[in-house]
């Protein structure tokens, strides 16, 4: 990476094209008196799209966000957002970035409309544009008549939406969402995740979602950045982290033992796994053999799928963990910088 990280001072930077990373850091380090090292030579690229940021403990995550927004000086290394240097172009970066904090940050005695409009002005929008974009943002996040009521009367789900609306009002190129589903019940989480996925897919805005919930990251993100102890643990696409393996899982509602015996008879070397059966996938014939075995025995087939790796495996202490007994050995994947 010998190319400069950012545009030169004074040069305009804005729309990231397909090639430019939305966030890029090189050996980014931040030490506090303590001695506490929040970030330790972090080098990572975040591509356009929806990226999950996972694993960072409190200090690392908030330090990273502050540095990216140009609010904190790193002890060492460099950071760039949307092609601009975080130290030098902080204001411009903050104009183009929307931030949704994790904690409560809404005043109770103001309506959502007033609040988002005011923050639109604070983002640099002229008065009329602020009003219009506030109305639009509230509509996009799904707040309709409620927006004329005071925020103190809102449910948690609605408050999260207001936080998201204020992040959108300035038309950001990048959204930083910090634990957007915290405190929401399952229905609320589902709609928030859907909303975020829609924003990422349809609005043309890159999103970084900081979350501890690997399930939701697998669900809506294209990429993953995992940070541990201030260093990069892994940066990769979700697709490659959830790659299909050469193992087929078969689940029948009853008669699992008979299935095991029949598959063994057909030479497939089956293994029991929780309520299901695993066989090695040796080409298409395996599918047919399984189908025929199930049909012969007249067993109720509930599930048939190729096992996939899961993001969670990254955090298991042991490689080839008890979670995933695969026939045949599995070499640990080396951590690499994506």
């Amino acid at each position: 990476m010998s190319a400069p990280l950012t545009a030169r001072a004074g040069e305009p930077f804005a729309e990231p094209d397909r090639g430019t990373p939305v966030i890029e850091t090189r050996a980014l380090t931040k030490r506090y008196p303590g001695p506490v090292t929040a970030l330790d030579a972090l080098t990572v690229r975040v591509e356009p799209g929806i990226t999950g940021l996972v694993g960072a403990n409190g200090a690392g995550k908030s330090t990273l966000i502050k540095i990216l927004l140009g609010l904190l000086e790193p002890t060492g290394g460099q950071a760039a957002v949307l092609g601009g240097d975080c130290q030098r172009d902080g204001e411009r970066i903050r104009a183009l970035t929307g931030y949704m904090p994790e904690h409560d940050c809404l005043p109770p005695d103001v309506t959502a409309t007033e609040f988002v409009t005011h923050l639109g002005r604070m983002s640099g929008l002229p008065p009329t544009a602020a009003k219009e974009r506030a109305a639009e943002s509230l509509r996009h996040v799904g707040l309709y008549e409620e927006r004329y009521r005071q925020i103190g009367t809102y449910s948690t789900g609605m408050k999260q939406r207001v936080k998201l609306a204020q992040a959108l009002v300035g038309d950001p190129r990048l959204l930083l969402l910090d634990e957007p589903t915290v405190g929401l019940d399952p229905a609320g989480r589902g709609s928030m995740l859907e909303l975020i996925a829609r924003i990422g897919a349809e609005f043309g805005i890159s999103i970084v979602v900081a979350s501890h919930l690997l399930g939701e990251i697998e669900r809506i993100c294209d990429h993953l950045v995992a940070i541990e102890a201030g260093r990069l643990l892994r940066a990769d696409t979700i697709t490659s982290m959830t790659q299909a393996s050469q193992v087929l899982l078969i689940e029948v509602d009853e008669g699992t033992d008979r299935l095991l015996a029949e598959l063994a008879r057909r030479g497939l070397e089956p293994r029991a796994y929780e309520r299901a059966v695993l066989v090695r996938l040796d080409g298409d014939e395996t599918y047919d053999a399984v189908r025929d075995a199930v049909a012969d025995l007249g067993l109720p087939l509930n599930r048939l799928e190729q096992r996939r790796r899961r993001v969670e495996e990254l955090f298991r202490d042991t490689q080839g963990s008890q979670d995933d007994p695969m026939p045949g050995s599995q070499t640990p994947e080396a951590s690499h910088v994506g």
Partner: protein, 341 residues
């Protein structure tokens, strides 16, 4: 027929036939003007100024601002009536109705400074400001400018009313000019008042997110120091007995027991209060008496709460600057520490 909306990132995918139209109401990019930092600060300034007067916040929020404003204007109105009756101007420009002004300002600042800063602290909204194209110190600067302006309006508008009420009754150009010359120092004193009191009030309010504590600490600080300065001024004065000559009006009897003096006068002893060095200095205790001391140092002649500054006028000036600097420093450090994103 198939209708394809195809709105990706806000492209104009409008679909229509003669019979019907589907409009694209997907997300739109913003391609208009983006204002710079200066204008954002200005927007925050106006927003805060409006909060100081309770505008845009419902009826209850306007009670204190309106009430204090009306009370503050009363002396000007009374004065206009007095002048209309042909009597000399009652209310001076530089001290106005000092006691009243003190009380009104304490009420206004204690009630409204928390509106500007404590609310934001309580709701933890500051990160949403700092993640925008604003610098950390722009926030307190805008808030302070707004609050100074709010206090300035409360002080100067009644002075202007006083001026207008007086000038309306006056008929000669030179008299108008005399009034104007008296008004200007009054406005300057008002400016000092606004700057100092707003800075102290805002600095104290920024120490707490809880309105009750903020209001309480402001009120207590101002009232206590005000009362204390009054007490100290009274107790530090010396009683001095002087002999004076009095001449009773013709036909009145002589005062009993009074020794006679030359030319039909009689001697009498009078006890007066005379300021001591301490008296000259205790005014530094309260912001209000400090302001009065500076006024006198700069040549103000109306009587005020401070009975003369002696040779210590410069100290009052220094105290004024110290108080302002301390308040600014307090505000700056508060907002440097505040906001953990």
């Amino acid at each position: 027929m198939s209708v394809d909306q195809g709105s990706r990132g806000g492209s104009s995918g409008l679909a229509s036939t003669e019979a019907g139209v589907i409009h694209d109401i997907g997300y739109r990019r913003y391609t208009g003007r983006r204002l710079g930092r200066a204008q954002i600060i200005r927007a925050l300034f106006w927003h805060s100024l409006r909060s100081a007067y309770g505008l845009g916040r419902g009826a209850k929020a306007k009670i204190v601002p309106v009430f204090t404003f009306v009370i503050m204007c009363l002396p000007a109105i009374v004065n206009a009536v007095v002048i209309a009756r042909g009597q000399p101007r009652l209310v001076p420009y530089d001290t106005y109705a000092n006691q009243l002004r003190v009380v009104v300002m304490i009420i206004f600042i204690a009630a409204q400074a928390p509106e500007l800063v404590s609310r934001d602290l309580r709701s933890h909204v500051l990160p949403l400001y700092f993640c925008r194209p604003l610098r950390r110190m722009d926030y307190p600067v805008a808030k302070l400018a707004a609050f100074i302006t709010a206090c300035l309006a409360l002080i100067e508008i009644p002075l202007l009313l006083l001026y207008v009420g007086t000038v309306a009754q006056v008929h000669s150009g030179s008299a108008v000019w005399a009034q104007t010359r008296a008004l200007i120092p009054g406005l300057l004193v008002g400016l000092m008042w606004a700057v100092l009191l707003a800075a102290i009030g805002l600095a104290l309010a920024s120490m707490s997110g809880r309105r009750a504590y903020a209001t309480g600490s402001i009120a207590i600080y101002f009232f206590l120091t005000w009362i204390l300065s009054g007490i100290l001024i009274a107790v530090t004065q010396r009683n001095v007995m002087r002999t004076v000559l009095i001449k009773p009006p013709p036909g009145a009897p002589a005062p009993p027991g009074a020794p006679a003096g030359p030319g039909g006068t009689f001697q009498a002893h009078v006890i007066t209060q005379v300021p001591t060095t301490a008296t000259h200095l205790v005014g530094l205790v309260s912001p209000f008496t400090t302001l009065d001391g500076v006024r006198q140092w700069l040549g103000g002649t109306s009587t005020g709460p401070v009975p003369g500054v002696g040779s210590y006028g410069a100290l009052y000036g220094a105290m004024l600057l110290v108080l302002i600097a301390a308040s600014l420093g307090g505000l700056a450090s508060r907002y440097r520490k505040a906001s953990t994103l």
